[in-house]
């Protein structure tokens, strides 16, 4: 549905196709291989949590966004969503401090454990909490491979090659190749909390610049988002 809607509005390529996870699939229960991210026949029922995540490419610009919620009241997921706010603040603060990405990753991990949750972004390819997004060339034919657009994969791969020479990586992971300060560009950041069959995440674009001013050196692209509005309402 989302694919069709966006196609009609000019989206021709995807960084990755839209994903939707329902129920305990939001916490990636028993996920071992990335193929399990793909849709199953599960129906959304009352009280079930859900996560939507998609990355359309519009005129060469990539947007990678994710959003969680539930059908009807789900106090547990509400709690998880509320706890995501601390992660949003933590990530921005530490990126502005220019801490190595790997250390930020570990701090996010520690915060999750303290909150009592499991780190579920570890289930993503390479265990990434974030990845770089970039402009991609528009082609008439844009196939995708395992749900990821080949053009975007090409961009990521070329970044990875360049980065490898200069000591950085377009993937923000817990591994040694992410042991470098944040690199200017657009980062799609997606911390994902899991707790006993319920998961919650957000995915937003974090803009990192080479500005000296800490305020300008990194900021969230958009502050008017459903989850941010929720946090503001709760206060």
């Amino acid at each position: 549905m989302q694919r069709e809607w966006l196609r009609e509005r000019g989206v021709r390529d995807w960084f990755h196709l839209p994903f939707a996870w329902f129920g305990d699939r939001t916490a990636f229960v028993d996920f071992r291989i990335p193929l399990q991210f793909f849709p199953t026949n599960r129906r959304l029922e009352a009280g079930m949590p859900f996560i939507l995540d998609m990355a359309p490419v519009y005129k060469g610009f990539t947007a990678d966004i994710g959003y969680s919620g539930s059908l009807g009241p789900n106090p547990l997921q509400d709690r998880l969503l509320a706890d995501l706010e601390a992660h949003r603040e933590l990530i921005l603060r530490e990126v502005r401090e220019r801490r190595p990405l790997r250390e930020i990753y570990q701090d996010v991990d520690r915060l999750m454990v303290r909150q009592g949750y499991a780190n579920r972004h570890r289930a993503y390819p390479f265990g990434v909490i974030a990845h770089k997004v970039d402009r991609v060339k528009e082609r008439r034919w844009s196939p995708h491979l395992f749900g990821f657009g080949t053009q975007s994969l090409k961009g990521l791969a070329s970044d990875a090659v360049h980065g490898h020479r200069d000591g950085w990586s377009p993937l923000w992971s817990p591994y040694r190749f992410s042991d470098h300060p944040p690199r200017p560009g657009l980062w799609a950041v997606e911390p994902h909390l899991g707790f006993r069959g319920t998961g919650a995440k957000f995915e937003e674009i974090l803009v990192v610049t080479d500005s000296e001013d800490p305020e300008q050196s990194a900021f969230w692209l958009d502050d008017d988002l459903p989850h941010v509005r929720r946090w503001a309402e709760d206060k």
């Binding site: 106090p75 547990l76 709690r79 454990v113 303290r114 909150q115 009592g116 707790f195 006993r196």
Partner: protein
């Protein structure tokens, strides 16, 4: 008699006079307790006293029992139809406008199944709690099914229950049972109950026992053969049913209830590790479950929120976990919460204990509290024990889990280090067992203690002398305590996890090295434990399973199980391994 403060009245019906006792406020929902064989309404005295604060509690002596009169002639006077007349007469007398909540034990439950499944009582019964008494109609179908389609398993089940029903055959012989009950058996019965069924003495059974038992033999003779041969096909329950199954019942197999959902669509299952006479041996638990069931039914709900495994066993029980702020303790608290237990999360870090309690409430614990206590502080633990007993009740399951790590050679370990480790890892467990174990034993209604030892308890190593010593002590303490408390129905389990991915590595002390090196080793060991990546949630599952099965020593993870085997069969190999330096 034993029912203190009861108001008595007599109800005349079908040629007999029934002795009815009432407790509590008549404006509250009516809970009617029906006794079994060979008993009188006084079997409920402990449960009734606990329920009287919330409900209008009604008990009556079944015809021919206690002070109710017996039908004349006895033969044919005890059919289920007549017993249903009695029930309706009593219900109309004590609660004419509102349906009643039925509770039956043994033959009281057999009768109550009849009440709950016949048409003419529809609208008079709000709920039914059954213990140790199946519907004869369901039982008849159960037998038929197994006889007509015998598979090895079904034949086994038939033979098993057939053997457990030996007394039913005896009761069908004429005159002899009456003679035995009025003679030697009646005299010996209290002693038999105490010895075999662990029923506490006191003023139960009542002096009317020989006549109760003699008359009650007609319950069997008038109903069993007729109903088992021709079970009713329409015996569907028209009220929500709560089934409480004592797992140690020597008269009834739990397999009897395998397909009960077919007959009772709104079924809540509960199990407890006890023998047949639960109204005498487990009054607290029964009163709690009855209260919860009646309250939720009155509130219009029938299913409980807890969905986790073992919800039938731990629902509503009080579980206290120390070290619940992180790691295995937190995962254990969550697992019990998912099973519907009330959780007390104890940790020396207030914030993380509060967090555990809060999340526990969100995933199914009806209530959860956080307590900030350092388990090595004796006075603080005493205060905690007093507070818990006064405000939350007697703990049903205690998990002594709090522990700290200490690594480093013996010669580098100062006496201060030793004191720290032993204070938390050993003394914390001692305080917990001493204070809460005492409360359990004094209550005399069973319970369970789980102590978190470690695979290090039986695996010697040159790097963990203090830690291993403390855990070995916990293991032996658990074994000794298990022997001591077995007679009181309290189980003790030692859990021996291997390398579990928790924060114990990053809080562990490393002796004989400077701060920088200590930090490095903490990081390194955390990384190695992370690579092993055995989640604390799996240890929590093992804890719940161990309590349900009452296991003595439970190694968790492959290395813990393998180590245990080696410590038994190849101790010399273990000693050789113990000499090696770990790769830190």
């Amino acid at each position: 008699m034993t029912l203190e403060g009861a108001r008595e009245r007599w109800v005349r019906t079908g040629g007999v006079e029934l002795c009815v006792a009432e407790l509590g406020d008549p404006a509250q929902p009516t809970v009617m307790l029906v006794h079994g064989y060979p008993d009188s309404k006084e079997v409920w005295s402990e449960v009734a006293a606990r329920l009287a604060g919330h409900f209008h509690v009604v008990l009556y002596d079944v015809r021919g029992h206690g002070r109710s009169s017996a039908p004349q002639p006895l033969r044919g006077g005890f059919t289920l139809e007549k017993l249903t007349d009695d029930f309706l007469a009593v219900a109309d007398a004590v609660s004419p406008d509102r349906p009643v909540h039925l509770v039956g034990h043994d033959w009281g439950s057999v009768q109550a199944w009849e009440f709950t499944t016949v048409k003419r009582t529809e609208g008079r019964i709000a709920s039914f709690t059954s213990m140790s008494g199946p519907s004869l109609d369901h039982f008849g179908h159960w037998i038929k099914k197994r006889v007509s389609r015998p598979t090895p398993r079904r034949v086994g089940q038939l033979l098993g229950q057939g053997a457990k029903s030996w007394y039913v055959y005896l009761l069908h012989t004429p005159v002899l049972p009456e003679l035995a009950w009025r003679g030697p058996l009646g005299k010996q019965w209290p002693k038999i109950l105490r010895r075999l069924e662990k029923v506490p003495g006191g003023d139960y059974p009542t002096p009317s026992l020989p006549t109760d038992a003699a008359h009650g033999a007609w319950l069997y003779r008038d109903n069993v053969r007729a109903r088992l041969r021709r079970p009713r096909a329409d015996a569907y329950a028209h009220a929500p049913v709560q089934l409480i199954t004592p797992l140690g019942d020597v008269f009834l197999s739990e397999k009897l209830y395998d397909e009960l959902e077919l007959w009772a669509p709104q079924l809540t299952r509960r199990t407890l590790p006890a023998k047949h006479w639960v109204p005498r041996t487990r009054p607290d638990q029964l009163a709690a479950w009855i209260t919860e069931f009646v309250t939720t039914t009155e509130g219009g709900r029938t299913t409980s929120a807890a969905t986790g495994p073992y919800a039938d066993r731990f629902g509503g029980q009080l579980v206290l976990v120390t070290g619940a702020g992180s790691g295995i303790g937190r995962a254990t608290a969550f697992a019990f919460a998912e099973a519907g237990a009330r959780v007390v999360a104890v940790d020396r870090d207030a914030e993380s204990a509060a967090r555990t309690a809060e999340l526990s409430r969100l995933i199914g614990a009806p209530q959860a509290w956080a307590e900030t206590v350092d388990v090595s502080d004796e006075q603080a633990m005493e205060k905690l024990a007093e507070k818990v007993a006064a405000e939350y009740g007697v703990v049903d399951v205690l998990v002594n889990n709090a522990g700290i790590g200490l690594s480093g050679s013996f010669l580098d370990t100062t006496s201060e280090d030793w004191r720290n480790v032993l204070d938390v890892n050993l003394w914390g467990v001692i305080h917990g067992c001493r204070l809460f174990g005492k409360q359990m034993a004094e209550r005399g209604q069973g319970g369970h203690i789980v102590n978190t030892a470690s695979a290090a308890a039986y695996l010697p190593s040159r790097t963990l002398p203090a830690y291993s010593t403390s855990k070995a002590a916990v293991l032996m303490l658990s074994e000794c305590l298990r022997a001591e408390l077995a007679g009181q129905g309290i189980g003790v389990t030692a859990i021996c996890p291997g390398f579990i991915n928790t924060n114990i590595t990053s809080t562990a002390r490393f002796t004989g090295v400077d701060a920088v090196e200590e930090k490095r080793r903490q990081k390194k060991s955390a990384r190695l434990y992370g690579l092993r990546n055995y989640p604390p949630e799996k240890v929590a599952e093992a804890v719940l399973r161990a309590v349900v099965r009452n296991q003595a020593v439970v190694p968790v993870t492959a290395e813990a199980r393998g180590g245990r085997l080696m410590s038994r069969f190849t101790p010399r190999a273990l000693r050789a391994i113990a000499r090696m330096e770990p790769p830190l």
